[in-house]
Protein backbone atom coordinates (compact mmCIF):
# COMPACT_ATOMS: atom_id res chain seq x y z
CA UNK A 1 0.00 0.00 0.00
CA UNK A 2 1.10 3.49 -0.80
CA UNK A 3 0.37 4.59 2.74
CA UNK A 4 3.44 2.71 3.75
CA UNK A 5 5.62 4.19 1.04
CA UNK A 6 8.77 4.93 2.92
CA UNK A 7 11.12 5.57 0.03
CA UNK A 8 11.55 9.21 0.97
CA UNK A 9 11.47 8.73 4.70
CA UNK A 10 15.11 9.27 5.63
CA UNK A 11 15.32 12.59 3.84
CA UNK A 12 12.01 13.76 5.23
CA UNK A 13 12.98 12.75 8.71
CA UNK A 14 16.18 14.65 8.33
CA UNK A 15 14.34 17.73 7.14
CA UNK A 16 11.85 17.32 9.93
CA UNK A 17 14.61 17.35 12.52
CA UNK A 18 16.33 20.24 10.87
CA UNK A 19 13.17 22.30 11.01
CA UNK A 20 12.57 21.33 14.61
CA UNK A 21 16.01 22.71 15.45
CA UNK A 22 15.73 25.88 13.45
CA UNK A 23 12.18 26.74 14.33
CA UNK A 24 9.28 26.70 11.92
CA UNK A 25 10.96 28.34 8.99
CA UNK A 26 14.23 26.97 7.70
CA UNK A 27 16.15 29.21 5.38
CA UNK A 28 18.44 27.43 2.97
CA UNK A 29 19.35 30.15 0.57
CA UNK A 30 17.91 33.53 -0.34
CA UNK A 31 14.59 33.03 -2.04
CA UNK A 32 14.35 29.40 -0.99
CA UNK A 33 12.40 28.53 2.10
CA UNK A 34 11.02 25.35 3.44
CA UNK A 35 7.87 26.74 4.93
CA UNK A 36 6.06 23.51 5.34
CA UNK A 37 7.06 19.91 5.03
CA UNK A 38 3.81 19.30 3.21
CA UNK A 39 4.11 19.36 -0.50
CA UNK A 40 3.21 22.90 -1.55
CA UNK A 41 4.74 23.52 -4.95
CA UNK A 42 5.43 27.00 -6.24
CA UNK A 43 3.73 27.76 -9.58
CA UNK A 44 6.98 27.86 -11.46
CA UNK A 45 8.41 24.61 -10.24
CA UNK A 46 7.98 21.23 -11.92
CA UNK A 47 5.91 18.51 -10.28
CA UNK A 48 8.23 16.52 -8.05
CA UNK A 49 8.58 12.79 -7.47
CA UNK A 50 9.06 13.49 -3.77
CA UNK A 51 5.33 14.00 -3.59
CA UNK A 52 2.61 11.50 -4.25
CA UNK A 53 -0.79 13.09 -4.29
CA UNK A 54 -3.57 10.92 -2.95
CA UNK A 55 -6.93 10.94 -1.27
CA UNK A 56 -8.77 9.24 1.54
CA UNK A 57 -12.50 8.72 1.06
CA UNK A 58 -14.20 8.12 4.39
CA UNK A 59 -17.37 6.28 3.39
CA UNK A 60 -18.66 6.46 6.97
CA UNK A 61 -19.00 10.22 6.46
CA UNK A 62 -20.19 10.14 2.86
CA UNK A 63 -23.95 10.68 2.66
CA UNK A 64 -26.24 8.84 0.27
CA UNK A 65 -28.07 11.32 -1.97
CA UNK A 66 -25.45 14.02 -1.48
CA UNK A 67 -23.68 14.89 -4.71
CA UNK A 68 -21.86 18.05 -3.66
CA UNK A 69 -18.58 16.62 -4.96
CA UNK A 70 -20.07 15.71 -8.33
CA UNK A 71 -21.63 19.14 -8.78
CA UNK A 72 -18.48 20.96 -7.71
CA UNK A 73 -16.49 18.97 -10.26
CA UNK A 74 -18.96 19.82 -13.02
CA UNK A 75 -18.81 23.52 -12.17
CA UNK A 76 -15.04 23.59 -11.84
CA UNK A 77 -14.44 21.94 -15.20
CA UNK A 78 -17.47 23.22 -17.08
CA UNK A 79 -18.90 19.73 -17.56
CA UNK A 80 -22.33 20.36 -18.99
CA UNK A 81 -24.94 17.67 -19.14
CA UNK A 82 -26.64 17.01 -22.46
CA UNK A 83 -29.93 15.31 -23.24
CA UNK A 84 -27.89 12.21 -24.04
CA UNK A 85 -26.70 10.97 -20.64
CA UNK A 86 -24.81 8.09 -22.24
CA UNK A 87 -22.29 10.52 -23.72
CA UNK A 88 -22.05 12.91 -20.77
CA UNK A 89 -18.62 13.31 -19.21
CA UNK A 90 -18.29 11.70 -15.81
CA UNK A 91 -15.13 12.62 -13.94
CA UNK A 92 -16.56 11.64 -10.58
CA UNK A 93 -19.74 9.73 -9.76
CA UNK A 94 -21.55 8.64 -6.64
CA UNK A 95 -22.10 4.93 -6.08
CA UNK A 96 -24.49 3.47 -3.50
CA UNK A 97 -23.79 -0.07 -2.35
CA UNK A 98 -25.89 -2.46 -0.30
CA UNK A 99 -24.41 -5.55 1.29
CA UNK A 100 -27.13 -8.14 0.66
CA UNK A 101 -26.21 -10.22 3.68
CA UNK A 102 -25.95 -7.57 6.34
CA UNK A 103 -28.15 -4.95 4.70
CA UNK A 104 -25.40 -2.41 5.34
CA UNK A 105 -25.57 0.55 2.96
CA UNK A 106 -22.70 2.73 1.95
CA UNK A 107 -22.28 5.61 -0.44
CA UNK A 108 -19.02 6.60 -2.03
CA UNK A 109 -17.60 8.71 -4.85
CA UNK A 110 -15.53 7.00 -7.54
CA UNK A 111 -13.17 8.94 -9.76
CA UNK A 112 -9.79 8.34 -11.40
CA UNK A 113 -7.87 6.41 -8.78
CA UNK A 114 -4.51 7.87 -9.85
CA UNK A 115 -2.83 4.48 -9.93
CA UNK A 116 0.88 4.02 -9.54
CA UNK A 117 0.83 1.21 -12.07
CA UNK A 118 -1.88 2.64 -14.28
CA UNK A 119 -3.32 0.41 -17.01
CA UNK A 120 -4.43 3.49 -18.97
CA UNK A 121 -0.82 4.63 -19.18
CA UNK A 122 0.43 1.20 -20.19
CA UNK A 123 -1.89 0.87 -23.18
CA UNK A 124 -1.71 4.39 -24.60
CA UNK A 125 -0.11 4.32 -28.06
CA UNK A 126 0.99 7.96 -28.05
CA UNK A 127 2.09 8.50 -24.48
CA UNK A 128 -0.76 10.95 -24.00
CA UNK A 129 -2.04 9.01 -21.02
CA UNK A 130 0.69 9.61 -18.50
CA UNK A 131 1.53 9.79 -14.85
CA UNK A 132 3.00 13.03 -13.63
CA UNK A 133 6.06 12.89 -11.38
CA UNK A 134 3.85 13.61 -8.38
CA UNK A 135 1.52 10.70 -9.09
CA UNK A 136 -1.34 12.51 -10.83
CA UNK A 137 -2.55 10.52 -13.83
CA UNK A 138 -3.55 12.74 -16.74
CA UNK A 139 -4.44 12.79 -20.41
CA UNK A 140 -2.20 15.10 -22.40
CA UNK A 141 -4.88 16.34 -24.73
CA UNK A 142 -2.32 17.82 -27.08
CA UNK A 143 -1.23 14.31 -28.03
CA UNK A 144 -4.40 12.26 -27.39
CA UNK A 145 -5.71 10.77 -30.63
CA UNK A 146 -9.00 9.63 -29.16
CA UNK A 147 -8.44 5.89 -29.65
CA UNK A 148 -10.00 5.09 -26.25
CA UNK A 149 -7.75 2.14 -25.41
CA UNK A 150 -7.30 3.74 -22.00
CA UNK A 151 -11.04 3.70 -21.40
CA UNK A 152 -11.12 -0.01 -22.09
CA UNK A 153 -8.11 -0.63 -19.86
CA UNK A 154 -9.30 1.33 -16.83
CA UNK A 155 -10.73 -1.06 -14.21
CA UNK A 156 -12.58 1.84 -12.57
CA UNK A 157 -14.34 3.13 -15.70
CA UNK A 158 -13.02 6.51 -14.76
CA UNK A 159 -12.56 8.02 -18.22
CA UNK A 160 -14.91 9.74 -20.64
CA UNK A 161 -14.68 10.51 -24.33
CA UNK A 162 -15.90 13.79 -25.75
CA UNK A 163 -18.29 13.02 -28.61
CA UNK A 164 -19.50 16.48 -29.50
CA UNK A 165 -18.23 19.97 -30.18
CA UNK A 166 -18.09 21.94 -26.96
CA UNK A 167 -18.51 25.61 -26.25
CA UNK A 168 -18.19 27.65 -23.09
CA UNK A 169 -15.20 25.79 -21.64
CA UNK A 170 -13.56 27.22 -18.53
CA UNK A 171 -10.23 28.98 -19.06
CA UNK A 172 -8.38 26.66 -16.69
CA UNK A 173 -9.96 23.49 -18.04
CA UNK A 174 -9.67 23.22 -21.81
CA UNK A 175 -11.70 20.30 -23.23
CA UNK A 176 -12.65 19.31 -26.73
CA UNK A 177 -14.16 16.78 -29.07
CA UNK A 178 -12.25 13.67 -30.01
CA UNK A 179 -10.18 13.30 -26.87
CA UNK A 180 -10.42 11.32 -23.65
CA UNK A 181 -10.58 13.01 -20.26
CA UNK A 182 -10.85 12.17 -16.59
CA UNK A 183 -10.40 13.55 -13.10
CA UNK A 184 -7.17 15.56 -12.92
CA UNK A 185 -7.18 15.86 -9.12
CA UNK A 186 -7.69 19.50 -10.17
CA UNK A 187 -4.01 19.90 -11.13
CA UNK A 188 -4.58 23.54 -11.92
CA UNK A 189 -5.51 24.04 -8.25
CA UNK A 190 -3.04 21.60 -6.73
CA UNK A 191 -0.17 23.30 -8.57
CA UNK A 192 -1.24 26.50 -6.82
CA UNK A 193 -1.51 24.91 -3.41
CA UNK A 194 -5.27 24.52 -3.37
CA UNK A 195 -7.43 21.46 -2.80
CA UNK A 196 -9.43 19.74 -5.54
CA UNK A 197 -12.90 21.23 -6.00
CA UNK A 198 -14.68 18.05 -4.80
CA UNK A 199 -12.78 18.03 -1.52
CA UNK A 200 -13.52 21.67 -0.89
CA UNK A 201 -17.23 21.10 -1.62
CA UNK A 202 -17.48 18.04 0.63
CA UNK A 203 -15.96 20.00 3.49
CA UNK A 204 -18.23 22.96 2.80
CA UNK A 205 -21.23 20.63 2.88
CA UNK A 206 -20.14 19.64 6.37
CA UNK A 207 -19.31 16.01 5.61
CA UNK A 208 -15.53 16.00 5.46
CA UNK A 209 -15.56 12.63 3.76
CA UNK A 210 -12.69 13.58 1.44
CA UNK A 211 -9.14 14.23 2.55
CA UNK A 212 -6.54 15.22 -0.04
CA UNK A 213 -2.81 15.26 0.54
CA UNK A 214 0.67 13.90 0.00
CA UNK A 215 0.90 10.16 0.60
CA UNK A 216 4.66 10.27 0.94
CA UNK A 217 4.69 13.00 3.57
CA UNK A 218 4.64 10.93 6.73
CA UNK A 219 4.02 14.01 8.87
CA UNK A 220 1.09 15.06 6.73
CA UNK A 221 -2.55 14.68 7.70
CA UNK A 222 -3.32 12.20 4.95
CA UNK A 223 -0.55 9.75 5.77
CA UNK A 224 -1.33 10.11 9.47
CA UNK A 225 -5.00 9.27 8.92
CA UNK A 226 -4.05 6.32 6.72
CA UNK A 227 -1.94 5.06 9.58
CA UNK A 228 -4.84 5.32 12.03
CA UNK A 229 -7.84 3.90 10.22
CA UNK A 230 -8.34 0.76 8.23
CA UNK A 231 -8.44 1.48 4.53
CA UNK A 232 -8.76 -0.31 1.25
CA UNK A 233 -7.96 0.46 -2.36
CA UNK A 234 -10.52 -0.45 -4.99
CA UNK A 235 -9.65 -3.69 -6.76
CA UNK A 236 -6.37 -3.91 -4.89
CA UNK A 237 -6.07 -7.42 -6.30
CA UNK A 238 -5.09 -5.86 -9.63
CA UNK A 239 -1.94 -4.41 -8.17
CA UNK A 240 -2.49 -0.93 -9.63
CA UNK A 241 -1.76 0.73 -6.29
CA UNK A 242 -4.29 3.57 -6.50
CA UNK A 243 -3.59 6.90 -4.86
CA UNK A 244 -7.20 6.96 -3.68
CA UNK A 245 -7.92 5.00 -0.51
CA UNK A 246 -11.31 4.16 0.99
CA UNK A 247 -12.27 3.75 4.63
CA UNK A 248 -15.37 1.86 5.66
CA UNK A 249 -15.90 -0.36 2.64
Amino acid sequence: MAAGDTSTLPRRELLGRASALAGLVVSFAPGMRLIDLAAAKPDGEAASAEVRWGMLVDTTRCVSGCDACVNACATEHGLEMTDRPEIDAQWIRKVDLIDEDSGKEISLPVMCQHCEDAPCVAVCPTGASFRREDGIVLVNQHTCIGCRYCMMACPYKARSFIHINLTGQRTHSPRGKGTVESCTFCVHRVDRDREPACVEACTAAGHQALLFGDLSDNEGELAQRLGEVQTQQLRSDLGTNPGVHYHGL
Binding site: K41, G44, A46, D134, T171, P174, H188
Partner: protein, 125 residues
Amino acid sequence: MGSVWRLLPLIMLTGVLPWSVIADEPIFPRARGERCVEPVGVMRRAHFEFLNHQGQQTVERGIRIGRHSLAGCVGCHAARDQNADWVPVSAPGQFCDSCHSYAAVRIDCFSCHRAVPEADRAMGN
Protein backbone atom coordinates in the same frame (compact mmCIF):
# COMPACT_ATOMS: atom_id res chain seq x y z
CA MET B 1 -4.45 50.16 -58.29
CA GLY B 2 -3.64 53.85 -58.56
CA SER B 3 -0.98 53.61 -55.92
CA VAL B 4 0.92 51.05 -57.99
CA TRP B 5 1.29 53.56 -60.78
CA ARG B 6 2.45 56.20 -58.38
CA LEU B 7 5.06 53.77 -57.09
CA LEU B 8 6.12 52.73 -60.58
CA PRO B 9 9.45 54.55 -60.53
CA LEU B 10 10.31 52.90 -57.21
CA ILE B 11 9.26 49.48 -58.47
CA MET B 12 11.34 49.90 -61.59
CA LEU B 13 14.31 50.87 -59.45
CA THR B 14 14.04 48.08 -56.91
CA GLY B 15 12.15 45.43 -58.80
CA VAL B 16 9.78 44.70 -55.90
CA LEU B 17 6.28 45.73 -55.02
CA PRO B 18 5.76 47.05 -51.51
CA TRP B 19 3.93 44.42 -49.41
CA SER B 20 0.87 46.52 -48.73
CA VAL B 21 0.34 47.07 -52.42
CA ILE B 22 0.41 43.41 -53.44
CA ALA B 23 -2.28 42.44 -50.96
CA ASP B 24 -4.16 43.91 -48.06
CA GLU B 25 -2.42 43.12 -44.82
CA PRO B 26 -4.47 41.39 -42.20
CA ILE B 27 -6.35 43.82 -40.01
CA PHE B 28 -7.18 42.94 -36.44
CA PRO B 29 -8.45 44.66 -33.30
CA ARG B 30 -6.01 46.47 -31.03
CA ALA B 31 -4.68 44.50 -28.11
CA ARG B 32 -5.03 45.59 -24.53
CA GLY B 33 -1.95 46.31 -22.49
CA GLU B 34 1.14 48.33 -23.29
CA ARG B 35 3.06 45.76 -25.26
CA CYS B 36 3.17 42.12 -26.12
CA VAL B 37 5.01 39.45 -24.13
CA GLU B 38 7.84 39.55 -26.69
CA PRO B 39 8.87 42.14 -29.28
CA VAL B 40 6.33 42.21 -32.10
CA GLY B 41 8.77 40.92 -34.72
CA VAL B 42 9.63 37.94 -32.54
CA MET B 43 5.97 37.27 -31.81
CA ARG B 44 5.01 37.29 -35.47
CA ARG B 45 7.63 34.74 -36.31
CA ALA B 46 7.68 32.49 -33.27
CA HIS B 47 4.43 32.69 -31.31
CA PHE B 48 3.51 29.08 -32.08
CA GLU B 49 6.85 27.81 -30.84
CA PHE B 50 6.39 29.70 -27.57
CA LEU B 51 2.86 28.34 -27.25
CA ASN B 52 3.88 24.76 -27.92
CA HIS B 53 6.67 24.97 -25.39
CA GLN B 54 4.52 26.51 -22.71
CA GLY B 55 1.71 24.00 -23.34
CA GLN B 56 4.15 21.15 -22.86
CA GLN B 57 5.64 22.64 -19.70
CA THR B 58 2.23 23.13 -18.17
CA VAL B 59 0.64 19.83 -19.08
CA GLU B 60 3.59 17.51 -18.52
CA ARG B 61 5.36 19.20 -15.65
CA GLY B 62 2.79 21.44 -14.00
CA ILE B 63 4.78 24.64 -14.54
CA ARG B 64 2.23 27.40 -14.44
CA ILE B 65 4.22 30.57 -14.76
CA GLY B 66 5.75 31.89 -17.93
CA ARG B 67 4.87 34.63 -20.32
CA HIS B 68 3.56 32.50 -23.18
CA SER B 69 0.29 31.27 -21.76
CA LEU B 70 -2.53 30.82 -24.23
CA ALA B 71 -4.98 32.12 -21.65
CA GLY B 72 -2.73 35.20 -21.53
CA CYS B 73 -2.94 35.78 -25.31
CA VAL B 74 -6.73 35.61 -25.06
CA GLY B 75 -6.73 37.96 -22.09
CA CYS B 76 -5.01 40.75 -24.05
CA HIS B 77 -6.03 40.03 -27.62
CA ALA B 78 -9.78 39.38 -27.37
CA ALA B 79 -11.95 42.32 -28.35
CA ARG B 80 -15.50 43.35 -27.51
CA ASP B 81 -18.31 43.98 -29.99
CA GLN B 82 -20.66 47.00 -30.06
CA ASN B 83 -22.67 45.51 -27.20
CA ALA B 84 -19.49 45.19 -25.15
CA ASP B 85 -19.69 41.40 -25.37
CA TRP B 86 -16.47 39.46 -25.87
CA VAL B 87 -15.75 38.16 -29.35
CA PRO B 88 -13.69 34.94 -29.59
CA VAL B 89 -10.08 35.61 -30.68
CA SER B 90 -10.58 32.84 -33.21
CA ALA B 91 -13.70 34.34 -34.83
CA PRO B 92 -13.42 35.62 -38.42
CA GLY B 93 -11.43 38.84 -38.59
CA GLN B 94 -10.41 38.62 -34.94
CA PHE B 95 -6.82 38.58 -33.76
CA CYS B 96 -5.82 34.94 -34.19
CA ASP B 97 -7.92 34.43 -37.28
CA SER B 98 -6.87 37.50 -39.25
CA CYS B 99 -3.31 36.45 -40.10
CA HIS B 100 -4.16 32.80 -40.17
CA SER B 101 -6.79 33.06 -42.86
CA TYR B 102 -4.46 35.36 -44.74
CA ALA B 103 -1.63 32.83 -44.52
CA ALA B 104 -3.89 29.75 -44.84
CA VAL B 105 -2.97 28.46 -41.39
CA ARG B 106 -5.52 26.41 -39.48
CA ILE B 107 -5.32 25.88 -35.73
CA ASP B 108 -7.56 23.75 -33.52
CA CYS B 109 -6.51 25.23 -30.18
CA PHE B 110 -9.85 26.92 -29.61
CA SER B 111 -11.90 23.78 -29.99
CA CYS B 112 -10.72 23.16 -26.42
CA HIS B 113 -9.29 26.42 -25.12
CA ARG B 114 -11.64 29.20 -24.12
CA ALA B 115 -11.36 31.97 -26.74
CA VAL B 116 -12.72 34.80 -24.58
CA PRO B 117 -11.56 36.02 -21.18
CA GLU B 118 -13.31 34.68 -18.12
CA ALA B 119 -12.83 37.74 -15.95
CA ASP B 120 -16.27 37.66 -14.40
CA ARG B 121 -15.65 34.29 -12.78
CA ALA B 122 -12.73 34.05 -10.42
CA MET B 123 -10.34 31.21 -11.16
CA GLY B 124 -11.39 27.94 -9.71
CA ASN B 125 -14.85 28.95 -8.66
